[in-house]
């Protein structure tokens, strides 16, 4: 997986840090068919975790009902400028991606 498959932004606004994440993933349900009428196998993100300076802040379990190229916003009251936020996903085929961003 290339590092470009996640776009992240983490901005401190007042006392709240808003983290926006856009992942690149097909999120196939396993129920869709291709042009030749063959089922496209399920391929979807199952677990997303976010850490703040290495400490867990968010753990998400996902099913096939999250849209293609998943979008996620979450908010932290515990982050300061310069802190590191890391987001990691794992999918049902064992693929994974991780990316970090500094709070600005």
């Amino acid at each position: 997986m290339t590092p470009e498959n996640m776009k992240m932004r983490a901005q401190l606004k007042g006392e709240m840090t808003e983290v926006k994440v856009l992942m690149s993933h097909p999120m196939e349900t396993g129920r869709k068919k291709d042009d030749l009428d063959r089922l496209i196998p399920a391929h979807f993100v199952q677990l997303v975790t976010a850490t703040l300076n290495g400490q867990m802040v968010l753990e998400a379990q996902w099913g096939t009902g999250i849209s293609k190229n998943p979008y996620l916003t979450f908010r932290l009251t515990s982050a300061k400028i310069g802190d590191t936020i890391t987001v990691t996903w794992h999918d049902n085929l064992g693929e994974t991606a991780t990316q970090s961003i500094i709070v600005t």
């Binding site: 129920r31 009902g65 999250i66 849209s67 293609k68 916003t73």
Partner: protein, 147 residues
């Protein structure tokens, strides 16, 4: 023979090393809750019970979704000590969409985009301590978004 047993040993070690983290991860994903076609089963597998209606769960969704493949949803819980937020689309083939667990200064707030197969209620369940709370919003889907 010795070489064979050595290879066997090595492949065993490899299998252990590479499957162990995968098993640990699989244990985190609630397969039974996500794969069931019944919302009651999904809730049961998440230990949700006796959920009470709460208007302290704020759900922001469009009244009508042009395309069910991408429906943006924002959920904010004003219930003290909110630990988890679960999203369900009642009329989807598999109703459980997502289960979020917050810790370490994360607000009980999330924005994401979900698929809706047809017009349906979106049900949100919040866990706070040993109690469960729920709220729902109805979304009309003009074009099916599930494959």
């Amino acid at each position: 023979m010795q070489r064979r047993s050595f290879i066997k040993l090595i492949s065993g070690v490899f299998a252990l090393v590479f499957t162990a983290p995968m098993n640990a991860f699989s244990a985190l994903w609630n397969k039974a809750a996500f794969e069931t076609t019944k919302i009651n089963e999904a809730e049961k597998n998440l230990d949700i019970n006796h959920e009470k209606l709460s208007h302290d769960i704020l759900i922001t969704v469009p009244d009508k979704a042009e395309n069910g493949a991408i429906v943006q949803i924002e959920v904010k819980s004003n219930i003290p000590n909110t630990e988890t937020i679960s999203l369900f689309v009642e009329n989807n083939p598999t109703p459980l969409i997502a289960h979020f667990k917050f810790s370490g200064g994360a607000e009980p707030f999330v924005v994401t985009r979900i698929k809706m197969a047809e017009t349906s209620d979106i049900k949100v369940v919040v866990k706070a301590g040993s109690q469960y709370f729920t709220n729902a919003e109805h979304v009309i889907v003009l074009e099916n978004g599930c494959g």
